[in-house]
Amino acid sequence: MAALDYLQRLEAESIHIFREVAAECEKPVMLYSVGKDSSVMLHLARKAFAPGKPPFPLLQIASGWDFREMLEFRDATAKKYGLELLVHTNDEGVRAGVKPWTHGAAYSDIMLTQALRQALDKYGFDAAFGGGRRDEEKSRAKERVFSFRSAQHRWDPKNQRPELWSLYNARKNRGESMRVFPLSNWTELDVWQYIHLQQVPIVPLYLARLRPVVRRDGRLIMVDDDRLPLSATDRVETLQVRFRTLGCYPLTGATVSTAADVPAVIREMVSSKTSEREGRGVDKDGATSMELRKLEGYF
């Protein structure tokens, strides 16, 4: 019997993490963003509890500006696997007229970070799985697998619990919670490789198709519906594009690509010269913006 290869090791470690949370936390939930990392997380969670179902619901934070295809994929996925799906939107933000292009960096804080906190408080979840990976960004490199949050959802990077071996400490007092990252030790390439090998379903936005886009600040923004304000000089082009990362459509830049299937995406990625988060508008406000957002409770 050959030793496990590295992907099998990563898979076993992630499954172990899911089971520890299910065993030690009272009311876990999986943050389901509909992105590729969420797809892999869900695949692993289903494996962890087979032949049963994962003993927790999925939670999606809908900003109202999600790609339509993501919402369709989300609903179809929950239905296919018979999982409970919770969707939460920050209604106060909607009422206040917060839009991707009106509030700058505050937009994602209000519609994503605050919305997430509202949802966790509303349902009383004491542990939430997130798809964060340590290879994504420098401040994530120091994140624990079980990341403790105060009753105010704050992350204290200078006072993290030591995490040795695979012994996770999930204990907490009432009101406090855990963010748990089963994909901590996966890289972007690992995720794609796993999607390919395991035939993990992903939202088709990751694959190149002809899509209507406009150019904004050097990025290609998809015209996903008629709410995107267009000026007289805006020209909607139909280009073959795909997305390397997914968020709110008015803030997510597309890449011109011919990669129409997963192997082609991987080929494109290993030849790529820019990092994964580059397409996201929200991280551009300074080198430490991700760390600041994490302090506030963002994933």
């Binding site: 030793a3 090791r9 470690e13 490199a141 990077p157 972007e188 290993v270």
Partner: protein, 648 residues
Amino acid sequence: MRAAGGGSVGGGADVIGGDIEAYLQRHKAKSLLRFITCGSVDDGKSSLIGRLLYESKMIFDDQFAALRDDSKKVGTRGGEIDFALLVDGLTAEREQGITIDVAYRFFTTEKRKFIVADTPGHEQYTRNMVTGASTADLAVILIDARKGVLTQTRRHSYLAALLGIRRIVVAVNKMDLVDYSRDIFNKIERDYRAFAHQIHLEDITCIPVSAVVGDNVTSRSVHTPWYRGPGLLEHLETVDVPDPAEGAAFRMPVQWVNRPNPEFRGFAGLIASGVVRPGDALRVLPSGRTSSVARVLTGEGEARIGVAGQSVTLTLADEIDVSRGDVLSAADDPPAVANQFEATIIWMHDEPLLQGRAYLLKLGTKTVTATVAPIKYRVNVNTMEHLAAKKLDLNDIGVCELELSSAIAFESYRDSRVLGGFILIDRLTNNTVGAGLLHFALRRSQNVHWQALDVNKRARALLSHQKPCILWFTGLSGAGKSTIANLVEKQLHADGRQTYLLDGDNVRHGLNKDLGFTDQNRVENIRRVAEVARLMVDAGLIVMVSFISPFRSERRMARGLVEAGEFIEVFVDTPLAQAEARDAKGLYKKARRGELKNFTGIDSPYEAPENPEIRLDTTQLTPEAAASQVIAHLRKAGMIDAGFDPGI
């Protein structure tokens, strides 16, 4: 300086050629090496890791552009590319120019995938290094060529060896600053090997490097023609790291009992060692029950075999009691079971480890209560000397005896990281406060089982028409604890109950006369009293304990010694001002004058109970009324009613 590192992941487009499937197959077959880097920021550790990431083409164009900007803004290399900035993540670290926490980095070469635990080097971050070492197969120890083997080199090597790392790479860095001197390198290698031999590290590779210039990092340097060994990356790509768990006997801590429907009952866990096949005979520990494997399931269905490192779900041939925390093992080669151990403990919290205090211990998937007693010695991590110790402070490493509330299946850490490594958790704050490595079970615990006696607590209780319990009176000195406890005992005695009053002052004259008033001594004081009270409960008595007992954790420990319902916490609630005004013994005056040190309420804290069974507000109650309230509680709780059934 080459431009943006080629900017591609895992070998680059040239490697793929035309065949993506073939590339993916090669990539999948790679093995994984987890290693730790030890050294201080001055040794160039971050520069070395930054260099490895850069040279293995893990840096993208946009990241490189950010690095170039950062190097100008905050770099320490006069505007030149500062690779250390790639890895110093948190803002606080960048401002202070040091690496505080463990950071995990990932890179891939044509041959291997790597996970690097990047840990800080200073002594005050020993706990971080230990954390990084806990999952590493190999350690890269940096030595500044100008400085040679230092105290910190010895400390890093000792910690790596302690955590079970057997393979060491010594990167003698900054060779460019010593003119690539062969003599200097050779002397450092000789010094290091001589030291490493003393701590039983034998598998050592020394490499002369310059992280800043890039010598012998990814390719052999022209500056060191006298060096014939591999470059650092080449060595990391080829070094053999066999997993000892693969050849060992089968063990799997049960994580989760999977019961999706009445027909299916599976035991899920990650296989710690060995292999498992359908039909294998298994033993469940600590119960010792046996069965055999019916099916081995992975997320993909039924499998012929499960191997070490894999997460599986097993079903058994028999319906036997198995729950989370149990260990499934090969029936003919099970691990030992015990409840008392010798262990090394690495303390990770600002509040010290105290002898006698109870903590939660998590090992595998089992969590139990553990008490440390006694601490045999503390290790000076710089000299490896053994020093006497009564407590362990942050970053201290000591060898202790541990007593657990129940027996667990275990192996020595040397044989199994999974069944020999544990964490200690504070019961109040839930923080992870320590880590430990089991050495062996104390002989007395392996063989001594509690003797099940024929005349038991229930029999004694029936005879005396009372339910034994502890009335634990806690409160400030002068609160009125002893006065009230005395009145309670008088009344119980008059009713024909069998009682005993353990009074703080009296016990300190005898049983505990060797103890003072430091925090450690207070813990031990309470531990002894609690144990005595427990024996008295077993003897069928209603025991009154009248002790200041200022710490919640000690009272909680005492509560944990007896069965649920047998511990009744009585908070004699008197404000400090009032207790001090009474001052029957003149102690507060002395304490205020500084003649009494560590006096509760004055210069030592009192942690009031959060949920006492009984609270007596002495500003509102006379001692007699307070005593009646206690008796009423006993009656209501069914401890002393006539014609009762003790129901134990």
